[in-house]
């Protein structure tokens, strides 16, 4: 260590340290002004040394900032997510197999299945692929990955089935419910979604499919890319298929077995997933329809005069109560909550 280096170290006396600390930690919370404050002290200290000290205080501030990211709490969430795909159906088997009779029966059935599947395996090698099923019950299941890297989010009460690996020359999945897909582009391996009687074929794109089995119709709304929708049970070729581009919506009405294209008028078609709601001079009756769908509550307008009031606002991930408050204040409306149902009426 050279003499000049030693001098540098000794130059900051304890008293100077006190002054530096005080100007950073007592008088100024913000790092920007504390830099100035320290410089204003005009201490007989090398400038590079001062800069290093300021850097260290910045690092220590960041240290306390990163503490808010609690790894332990986050681990619990991650752990339950990685356990999800290997479901608990195995425990049922264990209970059954505790019975010796069941064990023999199971072994015989298993052997028989093995023969059958072995035979089919020879004929169709893609059968060695395990089929996986993911379902979202009461909550939205956000963004998980399919074997090809495509992303899916499931709305509540939605099931999706897909193979462990996409072998062959297509990528095929089946859904019941509502899901938002972001399909990885692959010209050589079209992505095909089976939803009820519809078959939706994509190359690489993002779009929403709404196909609840109890619903009267199936809807595909495209965000980016190109999507082909086919009515598998169509009687004639004309109404058999549609090509959709961004902004388009394809609807298959089960009762009339008709497939039609329209322009999507609702920018909130994936709000169920993002909780990002946009209203541009949207009538209040449409607004509450969107809110009801996203927040899964019953909302009614009691006064028909209120239906055509227009709302222009954007809500990025706000609570329903907050949004209702905004509506109440904007239109001088009051909300009543009765048996879990929200009722809007004019303020008297």
């Amino acid at each position: 260590m050279s003499l000049s280096r030693m001098k540098e170290k000794n130059e900051i006396s304890d008293k100077d340290w006190e002054l530096i600390a005080k100007s950073i930690y007592d008088e100024n919370a913000d790092t920007a002004t504390s830099e100035q404050a320290v410089e204003n002290l005009n201490l007989p200290v090398d400038e590079t040394e001062i800069k290093k000290v300021l850097k260290i205080t910045k690092q220590v501030n960041l240290f306390y900032d990163q503490k808010k990211y609690k790894a332990e709490d986050a681990w619990v969430k991650v752990e339950s997510r990685i356990r999800k795909t290997s479901s608990g159906k195995q425990t049922i088997f264990r209970q059954l197999l505790a019975n010796p009779f069941m064990r023999v029966a199971a072994a015989l059935i298993f052997a028989a299945l093995l023969l059958v599947s072995g035979y089919q395996f020879f004929l169709n090698p893609s059968l060695q692929n395990k089929m996986l099923e993911i379902s979202a019950s009461n909550q939205v299941l956000n963004t998980f990955t399919l074997p090809d890297g495509s992303l899916v989010s499931l709305n509540s009460n939605t099931k999706i089935r897909y193979p462990e690996k996409f072998t062959g020359d297509t990528r095929e999945v089946t859904i019941e419910g509502e899901a938002f897909f972001e399909v990885k582009p692959n010209k050589n391996k079209p992505f095909i979604i089976h939803a009820g009687n519809a078959q939706i074929k994509v190359l690489g794109t993002s779009f929403n499919v709404n196909a609840y089995p109890e619903s009267k119709l199936m809807e595909v709304t495209v965000e980016t890319g190109r999507v082909q929708v086919v009515n598998k049970s169509a009687k004639s070729v004309q109404t058999n298929e549609l090509i959709l581009t961004p902004g388009d919506k394809g609807t298959l009405i089960y009762e009339s077995n008709s497939l039609m294209k329209s322009t999507n008028q609702n920018p909130n078609f994936i709000a169920w997933k993002t909780h990002d709601l946009i209203f541009k001079a949207t009538s209040l009756d449409e607004v509450i329809q969107d809110l009801a769908k996203v927040y899964k509550v019953d909302i009614r307008i009691a006064d028909p005069n209120l239906n055509k009031l227009l709302l222009t606002a954007q809500f990025k991930n706000y609570s329903l109560d907050f949004i209702m408050e905004v509506i109440e204040t904007t239109f001088k409306i009051e909300t009543q909550k009765l048996n879990g149902q929200y009722i809007l009426k004019a303020r008297t």
Partner: protein, 193 residues
């Protein structure tokens, strides 16, 4: 050294060792969140992005390969994840027509994050402070108290607080002098492709 420990854990993770996965998770989590926060709008999104990334890593564990260090792999992975998310948000906004709320997606150069070993070093340095000094320093940094408030809380004089804080800062300067270049090098890392 530390890097080979990480690689060992990573190899175990590839074989499905959940404990190894958990160890890596705990070690890198808050640092990665702080990094992700530079790209995304808020802390919750940053945490979600990091958690999503780890889940994906677990799902793809058998096919993963790292060529540099585990640390480099994680930071690059979360960066890509964030950029994909930002791109996706952009498309959605474009689709919805006018953007009603502008949000800057450029990395704010004033917003840094800490490397994992620096976090450990700072933790150690603060732990090493004598008890009274440590308590005073914590009240200032963790609770955000001013000197007068610390003096009142602990029933000591402001002069004592001033002296102790000065010595604490001096101690940290000595302990962390090897890391004084850290913020700069990391910033460069985040700009590289």
């Amino acid at each position: 050294m530390d890097q080979t420990d990480d690689i060992e854990l990573f190899l175990k993770l590839k074989e499905g060792d959940e404990k190894a996965f958990q160890t890596l998770f705990r070690k890198f989590y808050s640092s990665l969140c702080q990094y992700a926060r530079q790209f995304l709008n808020d802390s919750e999104s940053a945490e979600e992005a990091v958690q999503d990334m780890f889940v994906k890593i677990w799902e793809r564990r058998t096919v993963l390969n790292i060529d540099a260090s585990v640390r480099h792999y994680f930071f690059r992975a979360i960066r890509n994840q964030c950029l994909n998310q930002i791109q996706h948000e952009k498309i959605k906004k474009q689709y919805a027509g006018k953007v009603l709320e502008s949000s800057s997606q450029e990395i704010d150069p004033g917003h840094f994050y800490l490397e994992v070993d620096l976090i450990e070093r700072i933790e150690k340095s603060i732990e090493a402070l004598p008890p009274k000094r440590k308590e005073i320093f914590r009240l200032s940094r963790e609770q955000g108290l001013k000197y007068k408030e610390i003096a009142d809380t602990l029933n000591i004089s402001i002069k004592t607080v001033e002296a102790q804080m000065g010595l604490a800062l001096k101690h940290l300067r000595t302990e962390l002098k090897d890391f004084s270049n850290y913020l700069i090098s990391l910033f460069i890392f985040s700009k590289k492709n």
